[in-house]
Symmetry: C2
Subunit: 214 residues, 2 copies
């Protein structure tokens, strides 16, 4: 799109950065963020330790970058599904598949906040992007107003939503979609249903159902 007037050096730099991130993802996928080791990445890349600091200021900056990418990935998946006709239930399914395909990536975004990480401005922008899709989907589905205190509150606090004409009931539903699915998903991914013999997919489906019914 934009004029890619990049020097060879800049292109090489971008490629190495991408390779670093790729290896970082591989490491995260198997061991989680806390075990992410710059040294190990460097070794796998054939270079030694401190060389990575040419490309990332430190561990925190790399993690921040990975978080940004994860948000981007989820936002793209949701947006793509919506653009190809998915309804609310379809979006829920996409979110779940995305989470299951790489639990550590999910936790990187929605899990325990990593200390030393400061959310860059654009991640909240991407997060809002996801919410925008959800809002559109619920508006299309049609949501009756419940007149709850929460709706009244949301009516006055809509700085996170682009279109000012969206009914508060829709906002409420989109938020609830988020919190409820996260509730089931994160507990499932953390293995809390493991010892109970419960099928998490049924729990998930039940929540999605409730989201559409009431």
């Amino acid at each position: 799109m934009d004029a890619d007037v990049t020097s060879p050096r800049e292109r090489y730099r971008a490629q190495v950065q991408a390779e670093i991130k790729q290896h970082a993802w591989g490491q995260i996928a198997t061991t989680g963020v806390s075990a992410l080791s710059l040294k190990a990445i460097a070794k796998h890349l054939g270079m030694s330790g401190p060389a990575l600091y040419r490309y990332f200021a430190g561990r925190d900056e790399l993690v921040t970058e990975l978080i940004r990418d994860a948000y981007r990935s989820l936002a793209d998946a949701v947006r793509a599904a919506y653009d190809s006709g998915a309804d609310v239930a379809g979006l829920a399914h996409v979110v779940r598949e995305w989470a299951l395909s790489d639990p550590h990536r999910y936790f990187l975004i929605y899990g325990t906040p990593v200390p030393g990480y400061r959310a860059p401005a654009d991640t909240t922008a991407i997060s809002n992007e996801i919410m925008t899709v959800l809002i559109d989907a619920f508006r299309k589905a049609g949501v009756p107003s419940a007149g709850s205190p929460l709706e009244a509150h949301l009516d006055g606090h809509r700085e996170w939503v682009a279109d000012p004409s969206v009914p508060a009931a829709v906002l409420r539903r989109a938020l609830t979609f988020w919190t409820r699915l996260h509730g089931v998903l994160s507990l499932e991914l953390a293995g809390h249903f493991g010892g109970m013999g419960i099928d998490p997919s049924l729990l998930f489906a039940d929540e999605v159902d409730g989201l559409l019914r009431h």
Copy 2:
């Protein structure tokens, strides 16, 4: 209760262990689990490094112990509230207060699973203890059967519930209580509502309300 026929050595040992855990909690409360340092604890205790390994086999074992204590604390809080007459909404309030009083402790239990930690058998027992209280509370409140696929599934998978006479609809409600409250709480504690201007307590109240209404 039990005959505490402990030698002075055993009492000393127990006291030091308690002090270690106490300092560990202090550290966790401020910086989170990932930054928990045995060395720092030892220094604050006036002893040096490796001495701690007399009391805990390693970092993981200490963390496991802390997780156990956290579960115990939550279970006690819920149980105490229930025994003094709290209903479902009251229990929800107690859980939220417990979580807000020490977010890191909450994440220790319900956040991103810590690598290297293996759930000891008794934590799932304590978890079931909490569920038992929830089940009792919902049974007392009265829950209509919805005949959902989830209920049918739960009817056949109730190894995690003590009393076999509990209706599946109650089990479903107790589980939903868990997942929904966790959904709102964990996102709130992680600061995901921070930039939106939304009052998390209203979101939480709305979920509690929905739990009782439908």
